[in-house]
């Protein structure tokens, strides 16, 4: 296990930011850490990196206890904090050399490693600029470069793509994907597509509690069911549609168009077609809408709020 969290609790004053959560991440796994703002993602990550101590519970990275052997843990972790703090008055090279020095990399090794990481993170064009003159996307790359410089076993990225434009998001994602081979990666996000694009496993956290921890495909299947978008040439009778076996509910979009929500694991398309021909209506559109991560996310995080 390269990252292990056990019964971790963090209390800020009266507020429980993280409420006895447990999970572990295996070597080489990429795990997405999802949750609404204030769910406790960043707090968990800060504890795992040794910045904050837990109120109770334990975090282990690469077999080292974060509380007892903080220096060992910090050596094998690469961490990109939320908001990506940087020394803005430093040059890109200078900054990376400084960070490398902190990990005890020196001389020729440091020089070649800095070159390597600059190329990897796509900073070649900007390498002689000051950090303050870089655009947000390039700053984010510099932050990522800083986290990757010492080739860490465990990579913890706190919202690596927040505030970037779509092109930048895709590029940063590419970098993460590229470097994450043979590494354990835990990254947080509230962008669902990102999780879909990057990881094998998702942990959803809400109000300090884990509400889902599963393979992405399982989560999509079980929680999902599917939704069909149906359009007729004539006006739709919602009640009739809802009475078809396997349909859980129907919502009308326009007078002619509606969304049919189907229970998980059932296919009602042929029934729908039969219904249309029986009633002598012309079905002009039938589209399967995969239950997206977004709706699962919404479902999971609102469920827990009601409890």
């Amino acid at each position: 296990m390269s990252l292990q969290i056990q019964n971790l609790t963090k209390i800020y004053g009266q507020q429980k930011a993280v409420d006895s959560i447990s999970f572990s991440v295996k070597e080489g796994e990429i795990v997405g850490f999802l949750g609404p703002n204030g769910a406790g993602k960043s707090t968990t990550m800060k504890i795992a990196t040794g910045y904050l101590p837990p109120s109770s519970g334990m975090a282990k990275v690469g077999g080292y206890d974060v509380q007892e052997q903080p220096l060992q843990v910090k050596k094998i972790i690469g961490y990109l904090p939320e908001h990506n703090p940087l020394y803005l008055d430093m040059y890109v090279h200078e900054y990376l050399r400084f960070v490398g020095g902190l990990y005890g990399i020196t001389g020729g090794t440091l020089r070649s490693r800095v070159e390597e990481i600059i190329a990897l993170c796509g900073l070649t064009q900007e390498q002689n600029k000051k950090l303050e003159s870089l655009s947000k996307g390039y700053r984010q790359r510099a932050g990522l470069a800083q986290a990757l410089l010492h080739d860490p076993e465990v990579l913890i990225l706190d919202e690596p793509t927040s505030g970037l434009d779509p092109n930048q998001i895709i590029e940063i994602r590419k970098v993460i994907k590229e470097v994450s081979r043979n590494k354990t990666v835990l990254f947080s996000s509230h962008i669902m597509q990102e999780v879909q694009a990057l990881c094998d496993r998702v942990i959803v956290i809400n109000k300090g509690k884990i509400v889902a921890d599963d393979q992405l495909s399982n989560l999509l299947q079980h929680k999902g069911g599917s939704t069909l978008v149906v359009e007729f040439k004539e006006e739709v009778n919602v009640d009739e549609l809802a009475s078809i076996d396997g349909v859980s509910s129907v919502t009308a979009v326009t007078a002619f168009k509606c969304k049919v929500h189907v229970q998980p694991g059932v296919d009602v398309r042929s029934e729908l077609f039969k219904y249309a021909s029986d009633k002598n209506r012309s079905l002009i559109e039938l589209k399967v809408e995969e239950h997206s991560m977004e709706s699962i996310f919404k479902e999971l995080t609102s469920e827990a709020t009601e409890k």
Partner: protein, 242 residues
């Protein structure tokens, strides 16, 4: 620690801080020693360096907090503290690195004043008629006092993310440490208490060193105040853990 030290020191050199501090210190002290008639050696007529050693601390009270005010305050404000604390560094590495960088800058500012010593040495009648042990003691005292002020400044910087607050707090604490205790002791009725309070301040120890007598008690005083302030800084840094 060395990485933090060099990062901080380069930070001084790359920004204007180092040049302004050194420039202001040397200009100010130079004017006081050689130009302004009230304090100038030439008008005074005695071959000693009292002006440097009696006014230097007051210049330090303004300059050293200016050097140290950003050390932790800026890291806190920019969020880079989180970056440093998640690197394989102990808190002492960070504190000592920052302290030593500030202290090194103070040393660099003081070193050129050795020229004054040489000039006054030659000005004496006969040449060389200067209280050299007194000057050495005073230099040691001035440098140790710089160390105390740096540690006070580092501490003040660690308690706030605001550099102005940090500067004002540091300057105030420096003034209290330097002459505050001394002034306060004169308020209290004479006796053991007054002496005891007086000895809490820097001035008492600084004066005794400037006589050319480097006493282990005075050294101990300077080292323990510096150590105490750095320890307080460490406590403040760790307080994120409460």
């Amino acid at each position: 620690m060395i990485q933090i030290f060099s990062k901080e020191f380069n930070g001084f050199l790359n920004s204007l801080i180092a040049y302004i501090v050194i420039g202001v210190f040397l200009t100010g002290i130079g004017m006081l020693m050689w130009v302004f008639p009230e304090t100038a050696v030439l008008d005074y007529g005695y071959a000693d360096m009292d002006t440097l050693f009696s006014l230097g601390p007051y210049v330090f009270i303004f300059l050293i907090p200016a050097i140290t005010m950003r050390s932790f305050a800026e890291e806190k404000k920019m969020g880079t503290m989180e970056l440093l604390l998640t690197k394989p560094l102990s808190e002492w590495d960070i504190i000592n690195g920052k302290f030593l960088a500030g202290f090194a800058l103070v040393l660099v500012a003081v070193i050129p004043t050795l020229i004054y010593y040489y000039s006054i040495f030659l000005l004496g009648e006969p040449a060389g008629n200067i209280d050299t042990p007194g000057v050495i003691g005073s230099y040691v005292g001035l440098i140790l006092l710089g160390g105390v002020f740096c540690s006070v400044g580092i501490f003040a910087s660690s308690v706030t993310p605001n550099q102005i607050v940090s500067f004002v707090v540091a300057a105030f604490l420096c003034l209290i440490f330097y002459s505050g205790f001394d002034s306060f002791s004169s308020l209290v009725a004479e006796g053991g208490w007054a002496l005891w309070i007086k000895q809490l301040g820097i001035l008492d120890h600084y004066d005794s060193m400037s006589r050319g007598l480097i006493d282990s008690r005075d050294l101990l005083y300077f080292f323990s105040v510096t150590g105490l302030m750095l320890l307080l800084t460490k406590t403040v840094l760790s307080s994120r853990q409460w």
